[in-house]
Symmetry: C2
Subunit: 386 residues, 2 copies
């Protein structure tokens, strides 16, 4: 087992009829009755979440900031930073999915920062966030795990940049997880959420063995649960058992538990990001496009874990690596996630060359759990995914 740090101070309030506890949780953090509520494209006005939250917040002065994009934009968020300063806000409540929560992590950190926040995202020397205005979340879409971690991805379209930020200061103080929000999601988004959680787990599992037996079993537990409930929750999103298990799996998949003492490999994410950049394909779907090919090309590196996955999760007695990759593909297909680039765009020719070029231009040094993924292999992986 590798050395590790584990730290996660976010309080989770999980279940039915929980929003009435919002005031109690906010009052633990701030004495002010004035809060900023951040949201995205406005689905919270249609699915009833806004009404329920506002009802719970009776007695609070709620300043609204909406319009945070699916890939939250620096320019948009900076308007919220101004608002926070102007209104002297001491607590922010993010009501939304991963993008709203990621965007809010930036807002609360930038609002406490003296210099140019973009310098921090560029990792300019001496530019770091060290503090943030406290914030909490009401999750409306189980997928990214942002509700219980301290990381965020921020886009800057004018500069064609996508940058990460995070740190201990950026954990939500609390997150409210009511599985009822799944009821009103389009089937497509539920499938994306399942895929996101599944792939977050695989990125921290399909590497080489580091003998953290418990963490491996927890990862296998998330994968087995997602396989058990995946198709059913898409068909029956009002089923509390199915919805609550999906919601909790998505949170647990990226709250720091799985990475304790293991090696991880986020290269599927890194390659897949380029497909979203090029073609606007949903993030989760780009992961399902890239992962099978990556596992095939790097199967020698991931052999032991692929076999273990086949045996423990897919119930195969004597699996080959290829049999396990096919099982992963079959799971994606079962939840209506297509796994070929050509399922999403006709203009796929040249994609492998383009992505290889992008990686080379960035002076790519090391990708994969052994740091041995080459630009040529990236080319092969993308080409195999057509």
């Amino acid at each position: 087992m590798l050395n590790f740090d584990y730290y996660n101070p976010t309080r989770i309030i999980f279940g039915k009829d929980i929003y009435k506890r919002l005031p109690e949780q906010i009052e633990l953090v701030t004495a002010s009755k004035k809060i900023l509520l951040t949201y995205g494209g406005g689905s919270i006005f249609k699915n009833g979440v806004y009404d329920e939250v506002i009802k719970a917040l009776e007695g609070f002065e709620v300043v609204l900031f909406g319009g945070i994009e699916p890939n939250p934009e620096y320019d948009t968020l900076m308007k919220a930073v101004e608002l926070v300063k102007k209104e002297n806000i001491s607590f922010v409540l993010a009501v939304g999915g991963g993008s709203v929560i990621d965007g809010t992590k930036f807002i609360v950190s930038a609002a406490k920062y003296e210099g140019n926040p973009w310098d921090v995202l560029l990792r300019k020397e001496g530019s770091v966030f060290t503090d943030a205005i406290p914030f909490g979340t009401v999750l409306t879409l189980p997928a990214t795990g942002s509700e219980m971690n301290s990381g965020a991805v921020i886009s800057n379209s004018p500069l064609k940049e996508k940058r990460t930020m995070g740190g201990s200061f950026a954990f939500p103080k609390f997150s409210f997880l009511d599985p009822k929000v799944i009821e009103s999601l389009p089937k497509r988004q539920i499938a994306n959420g399942i895929t996101d959680a599944f792939m977050h787990t695989l990125e921290q599992y399909l590497t080489y063995p580091t003998d953290n037996f418990l963490q491996e079993r927890i990862a296998e537990g998330i994968l087995s649960t997602l396989i058990e409930i995946g198709e059913k929750v898409i068909e029956n999103p009002k089923d509390h058992v199915l919805a609550s298990n999906l919601m909790w799996c998505a949170t647990m998949a990226l709250n720091g538990t799985l990475r304790a003492g293991v090696v991880y490999d986020w290269s599927t994410h890194m390659i897949a990001h380029e497909l979203t950049a090029l073609y606007g394909i949903d993030h989760a779907r780009t992961l399902a496009i890239i992962a099978p090919s990556l596992y095939r090309i790097k199967s020698a590196n991931k052999k032991e874990k692929l076999i273990q996955l086949g045996q423990r999760v897919f119930g195969l007695e004597t699996p080959t690596e290829e049999m396990v990759v096919q099982k992963i593909e079959s799971f994606f297909h079962a939840i209506n996630i297509a796994t070929r680039l050509s399922d999403y765009t006709e203009a796929y020719e040249g994609t492998a060359e383009e992505i290889k070029k992008r990686f080379e231009e960035r002076n790519w040094l090391a990708m994969g759990e052994r740091g041995d993924l080459t630009p040529d292999e990236v080319f092969e992986i993308v080409k195999m995914s057509y």
Copy 2:
């Protein structure tokens, strides 16, 4: 899945050569260079932990308080409370096992309390701990999980009382877990630690299904890991893989993860406590004495989970409840934990009557996950355990 709150702000620093990071972690909490170091019977002076910790704490003024008992005593701990006040201590480092850590939770809470701390443990109206001096831990014995939770059990022998305390204020700020400490433990204590972690898990698992699929799988993951490593780690405590997996399982078994969204049943603990009180048998061993009989008497209540345990953890295709209980007993025997009261005392006659009487005198209302365990059943369980 039941509604739940999950909150655990303790930072875990896990692995080899970690104590050098003690100053960094203390400095995150206090500016003072004067700390109190609490410990137990002095094993830390023999196993090298004290020397390593003191070396890491160069530049700190370390006030020592030793002699915290295996069942930490109120009178002893109150002497530490006086010392904390006299020396104006702003940070306490507990170096020890569960008893030292439990005792330290009381010390740091009582030191911030104006009234009589015993009133708090008696739950007298208006008497509550709400704050504590910050503290961290260096764990020397994997077993109780106290290093990553906010609960403690405090004894008051003159009053023949054993009382619990806890709350958000009583989480350690950090805990250092170096599996190397297992090397120097007597085999008997390693076996006790395995049993403790195993039983903490079963108490939160062997109830009735609440459809928290992931939490069930995490519990099964801890049990499977303990079965996989149990015998081996007793034989090879210097093996880092075995030692680190035991240490992490023991922490995860009682850090709040397993109880999220499920029902639990601590009645094995409650009955077993009486055996320690009557005969001074090690806590872990009393659990192994009571559990099999309790599962037999209450097998109808626990049927679904017993069968699931047999299938998923013990690999039985079509188990009966009795087959699974026998597997649990076999595991205890494999790690040299005897499971009969008569293995520990010749004077066992009358124990069932005595324990039944004790429960009746306390106006016992509800025990077990369905609140239906009767004093007569307690009698049957203890008698069956002779």
